[in-house]
């Protein structure tokens, strides 16, 4: 009985958690004159797609989605590659200075990006790279946490496997890509989801570097849309936010297990 009561409290809390999202979608689907009524209408009567159709009139939404996707894919693929290469070297190869270099990288875990952003901005301005997507993904190709995380992961893979491959005359590239990485797939997936999600949702960095609408990512685009509509119909903004949130929700519901494992393992292993 006590357990049932607790379940009820947790479920009610859960409903409270999803209420803002339901309100978001319902408002986006409402006709402008019916939106933002109080008390809120939890079922749109009649549902309309009018607000969604107006989004591209105000911001280049598809272009922004493409920018976000391009940046997130490049960041994820690049960071996984540089991290996997370095992690393999740090856990399997012996060379002078290895542990010292690793310690320096590790110490950089406490360097906030907000500290490096001012000098990097100056550097990008000098290279005429501000307001380009390059300014967003290039500095993100090195991921100190990723190196650390994958090194731990690779260290847990038995060395007998690569020693056997070395006996067969295999090179290090072959061992890394054919032996180690297939075995490290759960770790790579967890890290990949983590990096992709962080890049896709990042606001701070793109907000500083990107100024023209065709270059913006979705989070920055949403905020610029809010500025553009001013006192105009906020329902269009709600439609745009829905277009950003809904794909994530669908992906999450499909790959929920991987998402949660990603957060739990990247969290716990660190």
């Amino acid at each position: 009985m006590k357990g049932r009561l607790l379940d009820l409290v947790l479920v009610l809390g859960g409903l409270l958690m999803i209420a803002p999202l339901v309100w978001l979608i319902v408002t986006a689907l409402a006709e402008p004159i019916n939106a933002f009524q109080l008390p809120p209408q939890w079922i749109p009567q009649p549902p309309s797609l009018q607000n969604f159709q107006q989004v591209p009139d105000l911001i280049p939404f598809a272009r922004m989605a493409w920018n976000s996707l391009q940046i997130a894919v490049l960041t994820t693929a690049g960071a996984l590659l540089t991290s996997a290469l370095a992690a393999y070297a740090f856990s399997r190869l012996r060379f002078p200075g290895r542990d010292q270099i690793f310690s320096v990288l590790l110490a950089a875990l406490v360097v906030p990006v907000q500290l490096t952003v001012v000098p990097i901005f100056i550097m990008m301005r000098w290279l005429h790279l501000t307001d380009t997507t390059v300014a967003i993904w290039l500095p993100a190709l090195v991921n100190v946490f990723g190196i650390f995380f994958l090194r731990q992961y690779i260290a847990s893979i038995p060395r007998e496997l690569d020693e056997a491959a070395i006996m067969d005359g295999a090179g290090h590239f072959w061992i890394l890509f054919r032996v180690i990485l297939p075995l490290a797939r759960p770790g790579l997936t967890a890290l990949g989801i983590f990096v992709f999600e962080a890049s896709w949702n990042n606001f701070f960095w793109p907000y500083i570097f990107l100024s023209s609408p065709e270059k913006m990512t979705l989070p920055v685009g949403l905020v610029s849309l809010q500025g553009a509509i001013g006192g105009g119909p906020a329902v269009v903004l709600f439609a745009a936010i829905t277009l950003v949130v809904l794909p994530i929700l669908v992906l999450f519901l499909i790959f929920q297990r991987s998402f949660i494992a990603s957060i739990a393992t990247t969290g716990l292993r660190a």
Binding site: L10, F95, L105, Q114, I122, H172, L249, A264, G267, L268
Partner: protein, 292 residues
């Protein structure tokens, strides 16, 4: 044993992309930030050597002090509430529950973490609107007092702390839930046989076994909260009257709006030093309570 010299070349080759990028985008800028903090520079004219002027300005600029205080309030409130509520949620979910209930609860609390802060901040800005927001409406319809939350010097920062719960608590909850699942059932069984009640079992079994997880969550939550920027910029622009301005936001304003680049660098160093000190302190204190 294979000859070790053979590892040298591949070793350096494999770490070179990461190390090169690290030098250009982490180590170099870190050194540059120290250098910049000694100059007055507006990005256009010639940089002017300023010695410790910027640091002197730090301690006399009341806006900086306000931003540091706000950030500390936000970070400490976040750590305490996220760990507390996250723990209660994790304990609540880690019981016998029907699969459907568990699925719903876990999904509902965790999903907002995957939504970009930009979207979260915009949704809540409208939800908190004093005329057409649903928060105001429902609070007053159950007879609770309400105000223009984001415009109130007293309530704006606490409101952002609560909005941050909605976004971030799912993360703490999932981390703590994963930690809770590592507590061996036999330990609980043994304690039960010894006659320990539920509270004592939590105190003497669950908490010690989970202490590394709690420690990790505390460190990460603090670092994350200390870098808070998005909700302030989008929801309050640091207002009313600086009541919600965070350190990072003030750095942004100085560096990219009024182009006092040297001062912005000095501000970002404050952030760095505080994060280092507090993280170091947490590691020191952890020896007393974290079981390895």
């Amino acid at each position: 044993m294979k000859p070790q010299r053979r590892d040298w070349l591949p070793g350096y080759l494999f770490i070179s992309p990461a190390v090169l990028l690290f030098v250009v985008f982490v180590a170099g800028p870190l050194v540059a930030a120290f250098g910049l903090s000694l100059f007055h520079w507006d990005l256009l004219s010639t940089p002017e050597f300023a010695g410790l002027d910027n640091f002197h300005q730090l301690v006399t600029d009341s806006a900086t002090i306000r931003a540091v205080v706000n950030t500390f309030v936000f970070a400490i409130a976040s750590v305490v509430t996220h760990i507390g509520i996250g723990m209660l949620l994790a304990l609540g979910v880690h019981r016998t529950m029907t699969r459907g209930t568990k699925y719903f609860v876990r999904t509902a609390y965790f999903f907002p973490f995957l939504v970009s802060w930009a979207a979260v901040a915009l949704i809540w800005k409208y939800a908190l609107d004093p005329t057409f927001g649903l928060v105001t409406h429902y609070l007053s319809s159950v007879g609770l007092p309400t105000t223009n939350w984001l415009a109130s010097p007293t309530w704006a920062l606490p409101t952002l702390i609560v909005v941050d719960w909605w976004h971030t608590i799912g993360y703490t909850f999932i981390i703590l839930l994963a930690g809770l699942q590592t507590v061996p059932a036999q330990l609980h069984e043994a304690a039960r046989v010894d006659g320990a009640n539920a509270w004592w079992r939590f105190w003497s079994v669950t908490l010690p076994v989970m202490s590394p997880t709690i420690f990790f969550a505390t460190v990460i939550t603090f670092i994350g909260a200390f870098q808070i920027f998005d909700p302030m910029v989008i929801m309050t622009q640091g207002g009313p009257d600086g009541a919600t301005r965070s350190i990072v936001q003030y750095t942004y304003e100085k560096g990219f709006q009024s182009f006092e680049v040297g001062y912005a660098a000095a501000l970002s160093l404050v952030l760095f030093v505080v994060i280092m000190l507090v993280t170091g302190l947490q590691f020191r204190l952890s020896r007393r309570w974290v079981h390895s």
